[in-house]
Amino acid sequence: MSEHDDTGSPNARLVKRLLLGVGGMFAFGFALVPLYDVICDVTGLNGKGRTQDQYVLTEGLAPEVDEQREITMQFTVHGELVDDWKFRPSERAMVIRPGEMKRISYTVTNPYDHAVTTQAIPSVAPNVASGYLNKIECFCFEEQVLEPGQTVEMPLQFFVDPELPERVSKLTLAYRLYDISENKPAVASNR
C-alpha cells in the first residue's frame, strides 16, 4: 500500500493489510490441495504407480528385460466391497523380472439387481517403488459400469522399470474398490 493512500486512520490501513493476509491464508489453504497432488506425483509419495501418459514408451515398447533380477509382485484387494462383490485378482503374487511386460486380470461381480458404477483406487508399497511401476492398461483408469448380476474381468497390463532401486525386491499393488453409483464425482481418476 502506498504512503499516499488516503484511506484514513492507521487502524484502517493496518486492518486492510491484515484482512488481505487472512484472505491470502484462506486461499493458501485451497492452494495446498493441488500442491499436495503435485508433491505426491513428483516424490512418488502416497504412491499409485505411473500411468501411460506419465511414461513415454520409446521404440520397441518395453525397455530391456533385466534377466539378472527377480522381483516378487503381490496383488491385494481391500475395502468393504471385496467380500460381497467377489473382487479378486487372478493371481495373488507372481515373480517377475524388471522390464518384463505382464498381464493379469481382476474379476468383480455386481451382487445387486441394479446397475452400479465402481472406481478402483490403486496404492503401491513401498512408496519408493511407486514411480517405477508402469501401468500400460488398467481398469483403474476409468469408472466401470456393472449391469445387475454381471461379472466382469478387468485387465491390468504393467511392467516394472529396470531402474527400480536395488533394495526393493518385493512390490505390493493394492486396490480398493468404491461404489460410486450414488455420488458420481466429477473427477475421473486415472491415478
Partner: protein
C-alpha cells in the same frame, strides 16, 4: 461514532441493565464477558469430561452407549479448545493489554463487541447438535475426514458452521489485538519495553491470522464434500484422506501454541512479581517466543507419522519438532533464573505459576518422547498422547489462566480474594490434576488406545485412579467459582499496586480499575525498561 458523541461517552459510566453488556464497546466489559463465557464453557467441557471419566471408572459399559461416549470426547475437546482456553486468553487480552500499554481502549471497539457476541451463538449451534437425531459430532475434535464427512452424523453441518463462526471471532479478536498493540501504545512504550504478556499475545495474534483461515478452508472443503459432490477427501473421487490430515495439522500445530504462548506471557508477569526480581532474560524471552511461533509452522506432520511418510519426511519433522525444545528450554531456564535468589512468597498466583513451570515442562518432555519417530509408532493414538497433551493444556494453559485470574482479580474487582480458599483451590487442583493424568502415561505405555468407552481388564486399576483424580479436579474447580464470586461481592480492599513486587502500568491505575483508564497517556517516566 462522531467526535461529539465520543466526548459524551467519556463522561458517563457504564449503561444500565442488559444493554450495557449487549452493546458495550468497553474493553473491560468485553474482557469480562469473554472471561465469564470461557468459565461457563470450562464447566460445560468439564461436565463432558466427568461423563468420560465416569464411564471409564471401570471396564464394561456403565452409563452411556459408545456413540454418545464418542460425542462426549469430541465435544469435550472442541468446547475446551475453542470455548474455554482461547476465549479466556482473548478475555485477558481485552482486559490487560490496553492497561499494560497505556491505551484508553482496544483499537477497534465495535468489532470487539461483535467478535465476542457471535461466540455464544457458535457454541449454541454446536452444543445443540447433541439433541439432534443421530447425535452430535462423534469423530473426535480432530474431525478426520472421511470419518467426519462420509460417515458423519447429519449434524456435522451445524458443527462446520459453528467452526466458521468461531474462526471469524478469533480472526476479529486477533486483528483487534494487533491493531491495539501496534497503534495504541502510550508514548515511550517501545516494543522492547512491552510486558511479555503483550509480546506473546502479539505473536499469538499473528499465528491466529495465519492458521484460522486454513481451518475455515478445511471445514469448507468438508462442507463441499458432504453437500456438493466434491471429492477433496474422498478417495473414490480422486481425493485423499491424508490431505485432510495435512491441512488440519497445518492449522492444528500452530493452534497448540496459540493456546500456550499467552500462558508464557502470564507466567512471565507473575514470577517476577512474587520473586521480587526483574524477569531474567527479557530479550531472549521475546526471541524465544518468536522462534517457537516460526517453528510451529514446520512441524505439523509429527501428528501423523503413522500415515506412511518417507524416511526423509519423518526425520525432518522429528528434528524440527525436537528443535522447539530449545527456545522452550530458554524460557523455562529464564523463569528458574528469575526465581533464583529472589525473595519469593507463595500467594496463590505464584503457586499456580510455579506448578505451571514444573508440570508444563513435564508435558514438554513427553512431547519430546512423542517426537521420536520409532517411539511414536508405539505411542500413537494411545493414552500416552492423552496424558501428554493434557499435561501441557491443563496444568499448562488452564493453570496459567487460574494464575492470571488470581493475579488480576484484585485489580478487576477492587477486592482481595480469599487467600485461604485460593490456596485450597490450588492444592486440590494440583493433586487432582496429577492423580488424573499421571496414570494415563502408564495406561498409554501399556497399550490402552484413546477414545474408547471400554477397555481390557488389565487397564482397570490405573483407570479408576485416574477417574478419582478427575472427580477431585472437577469438584475443586467449584472452589474457584466460589472464590471469584466471593471476591466480586466483597473482601479486603486492594491497594492500587495490589502486590508488593508488581510493576507495570496496570498497577498504576486505581483498584478496581475505573471504567475508563489512560484517556490521557501515562507519564512516560512510569514506563520502565523490562
Amino acid at each position: 461514532m462522531s467526535a461529539a458523541a465520543h466526548a459524551i461517552d467519556h463522561h458517563h459510566g457504564p449503561a444500565r441493565g442488559i444493554s450495557r453488556w449487549l452493546f458495550t464497546t468497553n474493553h473491560k466489559d468485553i474482557g469480562t464477558l469473554y472471561l465469564w463465557f470461557s468459565l461457563a464453557m470450562f464447566f460445560l467441557g468439564g461436565t463432558f469430561a466427568m461423563v468420560i471419566r465416569a464411564e471409564l471408572f471401570q471396564p464394561g459399559l456403565q452409563f452411556v452407549d459408545p456413540n454418545f461416549f464418542n460425542q462426549m470426547t469430541t465435544m469435550h475437546g472442541l468446547v475446551m479448545v475453542f470455548g474455554a482456553v482461547m476465549p479466556a486468553f482473548v478475555g485477558l487480552a481485552n482486559w490487560m493489554i490496553p492497561l499494560m500499554i497505556g491505551a484508553p481502549d482496544m483499537a477497534l471497539p465495535r468489532m470487539n463487541n461483535w467478535s465476542f457476541w457471535i461466540l455464544p451463538f457458535a457454541f449454541l449451534l454446536m452444543v445443540s447438535t447433541l439433541f439432534m437425531d443421530g447425535g452430535g459430532p462423534n469423530f473426535g475434535w480432530t474431525f478426520y475426514a472421511p470419518l467426519s464427512t462420509t460417515y458423519a452424523p447429519d449434524s456435522v453441518t451445524f458443527f462446520i458452521f459453528a467452526v466458521h463462526i468461531m474462526g471469524a471471532s478469533s480472526i476479529m479478536g486477533a486483528i483487534n489485538v494487533i491493531a491495539t498493540i501496534l497503534n495504541m501504545r502510550a508514548p515511550g512504550m517501545t516494543l522492547m519495553k512491552m510486558p511479555l504478556f503483550v509480546w506473546t499475545w502479539l505473536i499469538t495474534a499473528y499465528l491466529l491470522l495465519a492458521v484460522m483461515p486454513v481451518l475455515a478452508g478445511v471445514v469448507t472443503m468438508m462442507l463441499f464434500d458432504i453437500h456438493f459432490g466434491t471429492s477433496f477427501f474422498d478417495a473414490a473421487g480422486g481425493g485423499d484422506p491424508v490431505l485432510f490430515q495435512h491441512l488440519f495439522w497445518f492449522f492444528g500445530h500452530p493452534e497448540v501454541y496459540i493456546m500456550i504462548l499467552p500462558a508464557f506471557g502470564i507466567v512471565s508477569a507473575i514470577i517476577p512479581t512474587f520473586a521480587r526480581k526483574r524477569l531474567f532474560g527479557y530479550d531472549s524471552m521475546v526471541y524465544a517466543t518468536a522462534s517457537i511461533a516460526f517453528l510451529s509452522f514446520i512441524v505439523w506432520a509429527h501428528h501423523m507419522f503413522t500415515v506412511g511418510m518417507p524416511l526423509a519426511g519423518q526425520l525432518f519433522f522429528m528434528y524440527s519438532t525436537m528443535l522447539i525444545a530449545v527456545p522452550t528450554g530458554v524460557k523455562v531456564f529464564n523463569w528458574m533464573s528469575t526465581m533464583f535468589k529472589g525473595s519469593m512468597t507463595f500467594e496463590t498466583p505464584m503457586l499456580f505459576a510455579i506448578a505451571f513451570v514444573v508440570l508444563f515442562t513435564l508435558g514438554g518432555f513427553t512431547g519430546i518422547m512423542l517426537a521420536i519417530v520409532p517411539l511414536d509408532f508405539q505411542y500413537h493414538d494411545s493414552y500416552f498422547v492423552v496424558a501428554h497433551f493434557h499435561y501441557v493444556l491443563v496444568p499448562g494453559a488452564i493453570f496459567s489462566l487460574m494464575a492470571a485470574a488470581y493475579y488480576w482479580l484484585p485489580k478487576w474487582t477492587g477486592n482481595m480474594y480469599d487467600e485461604t480458599l485460593g490456596k485450597l483451590h490450588f492444592w486440590l487442583s494440583f493433586i487432582g490434576v496429577n492423580v488424573l493424568f499421571f496414570p494415563q502415561h502408564f495406561l498409554g505405555l501399556a497399550g490402552m488406545p484413546r477414545r474408547i468407552p471400554d477397555y481390557a481388564l488389565q487397564f482397570a486399576d490405573f483407570n479408576w485412579i485416574s477417574s478419582v483424580g478427575g472427580f477431585l479436579f472437577g469438584a475443586s474447580q467449584l472452589v474457584f467459582l466460589f472464590v471469584v464470586i466471593k471476591c466480586i461481592r466483597g473482601g479486603k480492599k486492594a491497594t492500587d499496586q495490589v502486590w508488593e513486587g508488581a510493576e507495570g502500568l496496570e498497577w498504576t491505575v486505581p483498584s478496581p480499575a475505573p471504567y475508563h483508564t489512560f484517556e490521557t497517556p501515562p507519564d512516560p517516566k512510569l514506563i520502565k525498561a523490562q
